[in-house]
């Protein structure tokens, strides 16, 4: 693949043309992209940080009820490596989920009682129950999901897409991140700015975090005492001064800087307009839930995600924290489900009603699964689950996905995959495919090597694609 940007850099200097907001105009895609006709133009990735328990939400295992408190057979565990938190546990008692499951929709997808709103849209969702990962701890596992590698330093998936596809919007970044704190495990599992970092890609491809408190984008607001008119005059004076120097030095960086200040000024208008939910009609809040009125909630972020999608932002990623239920699982997961169920379903429905779902890919999932065996004490109404990389469930919806499909299968313990395993590289390959990109061809040369999101792996999961 010929890296058009690299070529341009060679010709006129690194930052002269391209920019975070794509000051060069056009769609900003690399030459040769799309490699295939894309089936979606943007991605909304609802990342559930901490690892939601598939046992409680999606992966119905009726036979476990009879095996309650019995030891997980060695034939199932197969000597798999465990985290240091339970590796020395002397007993691995099976903990069946205490929540009721039922089938929903035309597709008859199984879902637990914790997700009543998702149940109403199951026919739009494509469940993958056979996700698996190599990582057993949060930091490396989330890093792996985000970058295709367990150690920090590589570009995140959103940065890869921004690099490959450029931006559709000239006033907003191509890659936006929003964070919410769940009601579950609050203390653990921090996130890191590097999770949406651009790694070795130029930093203009990094995700821009939209915050719920203070400025939605850092340093967006003028300081107190400076109003819009004063800022306008300031920018005009600044541009006039910079142009004097430009005439002396002819350095294209100076023109770029002038246009970046203009872009900044546009963001000062476009971002507050975007994050202002006051003009949303009441039925929006009926759909997403009253939580959506509270800035910083998952529901509010889902609503913002729709508004970002409407404005052509390429990659929108939500991180919802609090899914790490080592102990006290039943109580915590009820809260986590309440945080996310209605708004996730609302987002799918809302996008659909607005005709956006057909070219938006929505992904819902965490970094790994949770164990069938109990961590800590197993009582009638309390138990916990440790990390489980061997299987977990995610769902995808929207452009190019087979709606109403349940793909992949785990054994009756929900411990091992028995059919159609999908790993993180496969998921990445499939997301890129969906965006019209051949994952083996989106590369960037760094330290002598042509890196790609899927490292040296990744198979497109054609079975879940509608095309």
């Amino acid at each position: 693949m010929i890296d058009r940007r690299a070529f341009i850099r060679g010709a006129v200097g690194t930052a002269a043309l391209a920019s975070l907001l794509n000051a060069d105009g056009g769609d900003g895609a690399l030459q040769g992209i799309p490699h295939f006709p894309p089936t979606a133009k943007r991605v909304i990735y609802l990342f559930q940080s901490g690892a939601p328990s598939q046992m409680e939400l999606f992966d119905y295992k009726p036979k476990l009820a009879d095996l309650r408190s019995t030891e997980l057979p060695d034939s199932i565990r197969q000597g798999q490596r465990l985290t240091g938190m339970t590796a020395t546990q002397t007993s691995f008692p099976i903990a069946p989920s205490m929540f009721r499951f039922a089938q929903y929709g035309q597709s008859g997808a199984w879902l637990s009682e914790l997700m009543p709103h998702m149940a109403a849209v199951v026919d739009d969702l494509c469940f993958i129950k056979s996700m698996n990962t190599e990582q057993i701890n949060h930091d490396p596992a989330v890093t792996f999901c985000q970058t295709g590698f367990q150690l920090a330093g590589r570009p995140s998936i959103g940065s890869w897409l921004a690099y490959g596809l450029g931006s559709e919007n000239k006033e907003l970044p191509a890659f936006v991140v929003m964070i919410s704190q769940g009601s579950g495990n609050a203390a653990d599992q921090p996130l890191y700015d590097r999770l949406w970092g651009s790694g070795f890609l130029p930093s203009r491809y990094q995700g821009v975090k939209f915050r719920s408190a203070g400025d939605p984008v850092l340093y967006l607001s003028n300081p107190a005492g400076i109003d819009g008119g004063t800022r306008r005059r300031f920018l005009d004076d600044l541009a006039a001064l910079d142009k004097i120097n430009l005439r002396e030095y002819s350095d294209p960086e100076i023109s770029t800087r002038i246009s970046q200040y203009e872009m900044a000024y546009k963001m000062q208008t476009s971002v507050p307009e975007l994050t202002d939910l006051s003009k949303e009609p009441p039925h929006t809040f009926e759909l997403y839930g009253e939580d959506a009125r509270k800035p910083g909630t998952f529901a509010a972020n889902c609503l913002l995600a729709r508004r970002l999608a409407e404005r052509g932002v390429r990659f929108i990623q939500l991180f919802h924290r609090g899914w790490d239920q080592h102990t006290n699982l039943p109580k915590q997961i009820r809260g986590q489900a309440r945080d996310t169920d209605q708004a996730s379903a609302a987002l799918v429905q809302d996008l659909k009603e607005r005709g956006l779902l057909k070219d938006t890919l929505v992904v819902w999932g965490g970094e790994f699964g949770r164990t069938v065996y109990c961590q800590g004490k197993l009582t009638a109404d309390d138990y916990g689950r440790d990390h489980h990389p061997r299987c977990f469930t995610i769902w995808m919806a929207g452009g190019g996905m087979k709606a109403g499909l349940t793909y992949g299968e785990t054994d009756e313990f929900g411990y091992n995959i028995v059919r159609n395993p999908v790993d993180i590289h496969d998921l990445h390959a499939t997301i890129l495919r969906n965006q019209g990109i051949d994952h083996t061809k989106l590369t960037y040369k760094f330290q002598g090597r042509h890196f790609r999101l899927t490292d040296v792996k990744g198979k497109i999961v054609n079975d879940v694609l509608a095309v």
């Binding site: 150690l151 330093g153 850092l218 300031f234 960086e253 330290q447």
Partner: protein, 984 residues
């Protein structure tokens, strides 16, 4: 300077013997990059990757498909031009470009001369005039390109450029004036010497080194707790300021700990290889991360010193460079012999670490030691008097009298234990009790509650199990606790004194268990404490059997004092024993009791002064910073190749060694350890070390290295823009004894560096990246200089070298929203205005302004400087409190120091930022802006007040509000100028 060169001289240069052929195709420059990038994946050095027998990384291999002199008869040419079975194959992407094919044909036509990869051949010193070799070599190249160098930059531009480049801060108006006044030929020379002698030079040089060494103030994984490596950071600053030769600088950082009689400073230097991230996440597999730390050291050391991407050989033979997987693990073997653990501490430094007092702290320790010695002498002088006094007192000591150590006692039983002494994992404590156990199992003393993840409790527990004394300090039973037990049981139904001390170190070897006053041998059940184990529970005394005389101290009692505590006899009973029949503990006990309560005032005073000083010293020493260092195990660990790089797939055993393609290890010396490796790196025979170092220096001054890929000198790296220049600089560096300051001076003294950076549109078109250097370098300042400059010209900058990292302004909530835990607590006062290299660097949430302006994230070694130009930078410079306050304080300076008229004041600020006076046009715009804002703020004084009341630095209330606000806006305009944030 420039005038001495003429175009004629440049033409001569073309004919100089040191110059390579101008045209044609050269293997190293033109052909190897094509082979490497497009062919070596299958036909390269990596055995496992080779799908065919054909090797294009060796001359022998390549010549099987090449007929030298005859491209048309060469199979290689046939295949790269073929439509049907083209090489590289379709699966490897597009074919070679026409230009590439032309080059290969040309190279074959000229005889297909093969060369070893350039960077593995030691640099050859070109024969050029040493006085101005840089200019000679740059101009030779320009001559070949038919270009002329630019004239020297004007003096104002020059002094600003060189001052920023060498110190990271702008020149003051006085410095500019002095330079403008000095018409002597040595004027610039003097400026350069002054700058190189400034302590700011070390700070400036350190910044890039911190990026390379992935220095940070947090551990980098998960909770991302704080660590303390600033003593290493200060060592770097000091080394640059002392002009430590680069060879020593290298040796001390790779193996300072192994130098004979290593000094504290040399051991601190070895912290270079401990700056990597450390994982303290609960539940990790320690072996996995232990391997990652070693890999990081190998990668960083190779990249920083050798410009090699050896990390590629971790999983398989290197695809492009002649580095075998086995050789990667031979390097690995130098770095895996450290007594470390894969599970790093969540908070603080992970072993091995040392106490690293600063020079003033060392002086204070010495002062305290002297005072202790002095007080000891004074007390000793009273000894015979004390002995006499004690004997007299013993005669009348009451028979039932009892005494125990009162200092640091926080609670006792009988008495009220309750909530006193709620110790956490950083706290020192001693627990003691007398126990008479009727059964082998039961609690003695606990401060604990029911555990979350296991049946065992969380908190502090001292208990008997199978008759053995167990001490459990637990947050999570399975993976976050210290758990130890005595090897031998106590005797049942017999009174024992049990004491436990914990030194707040968070390690099992900081726990001691005494039974009847004697320390017992311990078995460690778990040594993995990461988080505070304190619980909101009262102390509870075991009820299963008799527990009595409980004492809780907030200090670690030394063994002798524990023995005193364990002495069952009362003072009266001891008094009744003849002195020569008393045990040591009995003697101690009665003596301590006497000194504590009954000695005459002078003796008590001398005794308590001595104790007080010892406590002072301990308290002081506890606050002395630590730093993580390298250390070798006495018996080397066996190293195995890791199959596919996986920690749990060891392959063949390997011995320490260096890649065969490079110079051999230096002869002589015994053993082969990290020090041997360090000597090898700095061996003048090493073809890479000097080149890589000077190339990085070059990048600092010209924005781009002579080899653009500063991180990769392998075959995937870029061909040097001027190979002779690189080699001259490299050989010069070695010849001068690795003199770092001399090298900086050589570069900045060159006419090449001093050229004006103004360029014609034609030249920009021709050489957009300025690789030919027909003009001076012009690029945006690095992140820290953007901020430091604003602080400097506003007068806010608080200059102080070194010390713990500081927390200047950053938007509230950034840490908390990522972690839900602790938030950033901004500092106050001068700490807000320190140079940016002292800003606290949290890896999970680096300082946003630094990130906006392209600072690397410090997760891993970064040597390539990158610069972007984004709207986020614009927002930052306009709206970040750092710059808003900076503008206001600069405005105050304008009003107080800048003269009387708006014109003067504006020119004053403009010159502070750009080192020059504004021209008429600029003056008009700035004045217009001032007037506009003055009008606005005069009508809206509320807005004016809001603008000028931001930031912690109080404004001068004597200045007119609307005027100050208007100047603040103008100052902000000046700080936002492209010229201000650029060194041009």
């Amino acid at each position: 300077m420039f005038g001495r060169f003429t175009f004629g001289l440049m033409l001569c240069a073309v004919a100089a013997p040191a110059q390579p052929k101008p045209a044609g195709a050269e293997f190293n420059r033109d052909i190897r990059p094509i082979f490497s990038d497009r062919c070596y994946t299958c036909h390269g050095p990596a055995v496992a990757m080779r799908v065919s027998k054909l090797r294009l990384d060796s001359e022998q291999g390549a010549k099987t498909v090449i007929v030298p002199g005859d491209p048309d008869r060469s199979e290689m040419v046939r295949r790269i031009m073929s439509d049907k079975n083209r090489m590289p194959p379709l699966s490897a992407g597009p074919g070679l470009t026409d230009a590439q094919i032309r080059l290969i044909r040309e190279w074959i036509r000229e005889g297909a001369v093969w060369e070893r990869h350039w960077s593995f051949i030691p640099p050859k010193r070109p024969s050029v005039p040493a006085s101005n070799a840089i200019d000679y070599l740059v101009r030779a190249k320009l001559g070949r390109e038919g270009l002329k160098p630019a004239p020297e930059a004007d003096k104002e531009t020059l002094i600003r450029r060189v001052t920023l480049d060498l110190t990271g801060l702008p020149p003051t108006p006085a410095e500019i004036d002095a330079f403008l006044r000095d018409q002597s030929p040595g004027a610039y020379d003097k400026v350069v010497d002054r700058l190189l002698a400034s302590p700011r030079y070390g700070e400036r040089m350190a910044i890039r080194w911190l990026d390379a060494a992935r220095y940070a103030d947090t551990n980098g994984y998960q909770t991302d707790g704080e660590r303390y490596m600033w003593r290493w950071r200060d060592w770097v600053i000091d080394a640059f300021n002392r002009n430590m030769p680069y060879g020593e600088f290298t040796v001390e950082q790779i193996a300072g700990d192994l130098l004979p009689n290593a000094t504290l400073e040399q051991r601190i230097a070895s912290g270079f290889n401990r700056n990597h991230r450390g994982n303290g996440e609960g539940g990790i597999v320690p072996e996995e991360y232990a391997a990652e730390y070693v890999v990081d050291r190998v990668d960083t050391t190779s990249t920083v010193f050798l410009g090699l991407t050896v990390g590629c050989a971790r999983c398989h033979d290197h695809k492009y460079d002649p580095i075998k997987q086995k050789e990667f693990y031979q390097l690995y073997a130098y770095f895996d012999n450290i007594p470390e653990r894969g599970n790093a501490q969540k908070y603080g430094n992970s072993p091995p670490f040392i106490k690293a007092p600063t020079a003033p702290q060392q002086a204070e320790v010495k002062r305290l030691d002297d005072a202790i010695a002095d007080a000891g002498k004074k007390f000793a002088a009273l000894n015979s008097e004390a002995m006499r006094g004690q004997r007299a007192w013993e005669q009348k000591a009451a028979r039932e009298m009892e005494w125990s150590e009162p200092r640091a006692l926080v609670a006792k039983f009988p008495g009220d234990l309750a909530m006193a002494g709620n110790f956490g994992f950083y706290d020192k404590f001693t627990l003691s009790a007398r126990v008479n156990a009727s059964t082998p199992d039961g609690p003695i003393l606990t401060r604990a509650k029911e555990g979350k993840d296991a049946p065992e409790p969380t908190g502090i527990s001292v208990l008997l199990k199978d008759g053995k004394v167990h001490v459990n300090l637990v947050l999570r039973w399975l993976d976050d606790a210290i758990r130890v037990e005595t090897r031998d049981p106590v005797t049942l139904n017999q009174s024992h004194h049990v004491a436990v001390t914990y030194d707040g170190s968070r390690f099992a070897d900081g726990v001691k268990i005494y039974v009847d006053g004697a320390a017992r041998e311990l078995k460690v059940n778990l040594d993995q404490m990461n988080q505070n184990f304190a619980v909101k529970e009262p102390w509870r005394i075991g009820t299963g059997f008799a527990v009595d005389q409980v004492r809780i101290y907030k200090a670690v009692l030394p063994p002798a004092e524990v023995a005193v505590l364990a002495t069952p006899e009362s003072i009266g009973e001891i008094a009744a024993i003849p002195p020569d029949k008393r045990s040591a503990a009995q003697s101690d006990k009665i003596r301590l009791c006497y000194l504590d309560q009954f000695a005459p005032y002078a003796i008590q005073d001398a005794w308590k002064t001595l104790l007080g000083l010892k406590e002072d010293r301990e308290r002081f020493y506890d606050r002395v910073p630590t730093v993580m260092v390298m250390q070798d195990r006495p018996v080397p660990r066996e190293t195995h190749l890791l199959l596919r790089g996986a920690y749990d797939h060891p392959g063949e055993k390997v011995e320490r060694g260096v890649p065969a393609v490079l110079n051999p290890l230096p002869a002589g010396g015994s053993g082969n350890n990290r020090l041997t490796l360090a000597r090898w790196v700095t061996d003048p025979a090493n073809p890479l070390t000097a080149r890589v170092a000077v190339n990085r220096f070059w990048q600092m001054y010209f924005g781009t290295g002579i080899v653009k890929t500063v991180e990769d000198f392998g075959s995937q790296g870029e061909w040097p823009a001027n190979p002779e220049l690189l080699d001259w600089l490299a050989t010069e560096f070695v010849l001068t004894g690795w003199n770092v300051k001399a090298m900086q001076k050589t570069i900045v003294m060159s006419a090449t560096y001093r050229q004006s950076s103004k360029a014609s549109p034609e030249l920009l078109q021709r050489d957009p990246e300025n690789r030919l250097l027909a003009r001076g370098p012009r690029f945006r300042l690095p992140a820290e200089m953007v901020r430091d400059q604003a602080l400097a010209i506003s007068g806010l900058l608080a200059e102080k070298i070194g010390g713990p990292s500081v927390k200047p302004y950053q938007p509230a909530g950034l840490w908390k929203e990522l972690s839900g835990g602790e938030d950033y607590v901004q500092d106050k006062g001068d700490k807000l205005y320190r140079r940016s290299l002292y800003t606290f660097w949290k890896r999970a949430s680096p300082p946003p302004m630094m990130v906006n302006f392209d600072s690397p994230g410090r997760e891993a070694c970064t040597v390539l400087e990158t610069r972007t130009n984004t709207p986020l930078q614009a927002l930052d410079l306009m709206n970040d409190l750092t710059f808003v306050e900076g503008s206001r304080v600069l405005a105050e300076r304008m009003m107080k120091e800048g003269g009387k008229s708006p014109e003067e004041r504006i020119a004053f600020a403009f010159r502070l930022a750009t080192a020059r006076m504004p021209n008429d046009q600029e003056r008009t715009i700035l004045l217009g802006s001032y007037q506009y804002n003055l009008d606005r703020f005069q009508t809206d004084s509320g807005a004016a007040l809001k603008l000028i009341d931001q930031g912690e630095r109080r404004r001068d209330p004597s200045l007119s509000v609307s005027d100050l606000a208007a100047y603040t806006t103008v100052a902000s305009l000046i700080l936002n100028l492209d010229e201000t944030v650029t060194r041009q």
